[in-house]
């Protein structure tokens, strides 16, 4: 299913009383539409283990 994670999260949030929506097409559609993006802040990055 496309947008599986966002749809699942939106569903849970709506059950909790939030007014949640899914952005159709996700980041790919947003990027394709030429809308503004920004780099993920370094503090938000989750560093996975590497061999280096």
């Amino acid at each position: 299913m496309r947008e599986a994670t966002s749809a699942r999260v939106a569903h849970i949030l709506r059950e909790q009383g939030f007014d949640a929506y899914v952005i159709h097409g996700g980041l790919r559609a947003w990027n394709k539409g030429g809308y503004a993006l920004e780099p993920v802040p370094s503090d938000d990055l989750v560093l996975l283990p590497t061999f280096t």
Binding site: M1, H11, I12, Y21, L27, P39, V40, T52
Partner: protein, 270 residues
């Protein structure tokens, strides 16, 4: 088996190289059977053993190196793609990476013998920035073990293989049934997922152009843009929608406990 043996008689080394290479890059072809048949052909003096080993090893290392480079340049996107079928995609990447980090070196040496893992190990090593020299050394050991094991088996038991090949028709029918059962299982699994996710299909969606217009109209203060991607935060240089914030799906209710309920929340993933 008989088809492979017949092909080997006609095209010999090229068939060994092609089948081994295809399996190394993830195509589900029976490289082990080809090596066993090539080993038997060596015992019958149709092929030279050292050439079979050299060609198989080279083809395998070439395929693995291609996947390693793909892993290196695709970052975590490849693992993210593979984790999409997991029960919990959000934690799959982290668990897989940590597990491979702990056992990666051993995995590379024995992964060839485990279907599914054999094609996953080289790109994981690439994604996890293993040094190319180290990768090549470990992969060489793994590929040598695999090639020697199956070719050696074919060489040593070449007489038995003739008898086995005669029973291949029966085995073939069993394989057909197994494939049919696997297909039914896969279709059932997809149907189950479709049924399980039915409630998510009623969640309202917004088109990107509509949302961009809303934001441009100055309603930014009244909305929350939340990024729930499972693998968007593992690669330095990753991008996200401007003004959005990370919402960790594994920690959802705790993360939103202080969020205002009068704001519209727009969620996106990949």
């Amino acid at each position: 088996m008989q088809e492979i043996a017949s092909l080997l008689e006609k095209h010999g080394y090229a068939v060994v190289a092609l089948i081994v290479f295809l399996e190394a890059v993830g195509v589900p072809v029976p490289a082990a059977l080809a090596l066993v048949a090539a080993g038997a052909a060596s015992a019958w003096h149709h092929l030279r053993t050292e050439m079979v080993l050299l060609i198989a090893l080279s083809a395998m290392l070439l395929g693995d190196t291609i996947l390693f480079i793909l892993g290196r340049y695709s970052g975590w996107a490849l693992l993210g793609f593979l984790c999409r079928i997991a029960l919990n995609p959000e934690s799959c990447i982290l668990r897989s990476a940590e597990s491979f980090y702990r056992r990666g070196r051993t995995t590379l040496m024995f992964a060839k013998f485990i279907p599914g893992i054999n094609s996953l190990a080289p790109p994981l090593a690439g994604s996890m920035r293993m040094g190319f020299g180290q990768f090549l050394r470990l992969d060489f050991i793994g590929a040598s073990l695999y090639t020697l094991a199956y070719t050696g088996f074919g060489y040593l038991f070449s007489g038995v293989i003739v008898a086995v090949a005669k029973g291949a028709a029966t085995v073939g029918r069993a394989v057909e049934w197994l494939l049919l059962i696997a297909l039914i299982g896969y279709v059932s699994y997809r149907a189950y997922l479709y049924w399980k996710h039915r409630k998510y299909r009623v969640v309202p969606r917004v088109q990107v152009a509509e949302l961009a217009t809303t934001l441009a109209a100055g309603e930014v203060g009244g909305v929350i843009l939340a990024d729930v991607r499972s693998h968007g935060y593992y690669d330095p240089g990753a991008m996200r929608i401007k003004g959005s914030i990370r919402l960790e799906p594994n920690n959802l209710l705790a993360a939103v406990k202080d969020w205002p309920r009068d704001k519209k929340i727009y969620l996106y993933c990949t």
